[in-house]
Symmetry: C2
Subunit: 270 residues, 2 copies
Amino acid sequence: MKSTVNFRRLHLKGDQTMTQAQEARLAMRQGTWTGPTVHQVKGYVQANLVMLPRSDAYEFLVYCQRNAKACPVIEVTDPGDPEPRISAPGADLRTDLPRYAIYKSGTKEGEVRDILKLWTQDSVAFLLGSSLSFDDALARAGVEAGDTVWALNTEIPTVPAGKFHGNLVVTMRLMSHEQVIPATQVSTRYIFTHGSPIHVGNPEVIGADLERPIYGPPLPAIPEGKTAVFWACGVTPQQAAIVSKQELMITHAPGHGFVTDLRSDSFCIP
Amino acid sequence: MKSTVNFRRLHLKGDQTMTQAQEARLAMRQGTWTGPTVHQVKGYVQANLVMLPRSDAYEFLVYCQRNAKACPVIEVTDPGDPEPRISAPGADLRTDLPRYAIYKSGTKEGEVRDILKLWTQDSVAFLLGSSLSFDDALARAGVEAGDTVWALNTEIPTVPAGKFHGNLVVTMRLMSHEQVIPATQVSTRYIFTHGSPIHVGNPEVIGADLERPIYGPPLPAIPEGKTAVFWACGVTPQQAAIVSKQELMITHAPGHGFVTDLRSDSFCIP
């Protein structure tokens, strides 16, 4: 199964070399990169993927607008066009992610490595900013959040739009209490990739489900000496797909984001 | 012609008094306020209005996403619901603006004071952040931009989405050259109401049409000692309606914005 997208922009001239983002996407397309993108391809904006039939696209876009902290829209492709022409020209959203999740009638059917057979002329792709984009900036500011980023369900309801509803999904990072304020300050700048945290401290306040993480290892309790910091997460639509019994939604697999050409440190506020 | 919207949230309890925003909207609803909102109701976020049939709403929302600097979406109402439940509960978008502009088949048909007869169960309203929201913040920072805010056509193309295309409309404010940097710094914080300027200096660089302003008096040239500063403007969709020959678009009349309950100084970045 070969991609049919126009490769022209990946065909480099003369002594041009591929960027790290292009290399990563090519490896994903070729199937040599199938693992997570957490802490990978530093400096590039990563995006959550949502693909829907055109008939569901409007209500979903309104859902994103009403829940912009969880679903900051970076790009919407034209129906049938799998190329994100603004954020990653030359890329093919059907092949250039390491792993996809398929939701049918509200049930996760499984994960696959490409979606060439599922994409139609009626498909619309949404790229939503991912907090994986600012992990590098947190590290540069001295925030030691470790290697693990969790994605967790919460009990915070999102604002419904048409059929789409459900609870907020968050990412959680653990750090020392001194690092909470710099982490808040730094992430606030990355407003297009979730921005500031939505909660610091007790997971129970937001009903964060540590026992059954969507991504990351189960965690019975927050380790001694660590503070949990929570950001709105672009996996939220996957939860909406389940609760709303959405007929078909294709997404990235949690932790396996799309690497855009956008640079994290320019795709933010001053 | 009376509004049929539920007034419950405007019915205040006990000794509650109306906010300035509620007072302004009531005066507009009652027809005693028919003039501009420029430099009025300071401290509240003002919004540009676009109303479309549901069938055009998706392409327009994608147009806003692709041109977010000009069209930052504050709220999208459900089809048939004229109440902006998030940004101004109790308000009625059919009556609570001082003046509306009607575009039919790409031609501006005129301006009216309410749109009760044009609103249907199929109508969707979009509120887009207006730069009128930060004029007060500019003044507080010592930027003396005078009483006049111009809205001008430019030669900068927007990114098309479906049928919607056209050139960017900008607002222009005149100030001393020392005030350009503080004006840039201050407005950058108001990212949901256009944020930073798109150009400073020579109007010809962006093809700003000073001779035929959309709003404000004609100006043959920038006055001696003044620097022109340009922000993306939420009147841009009105230009798209003309160029795209949109069958029906109802908007605010330029300079006559919708006053929300949102406070400018909390609806911004730190």
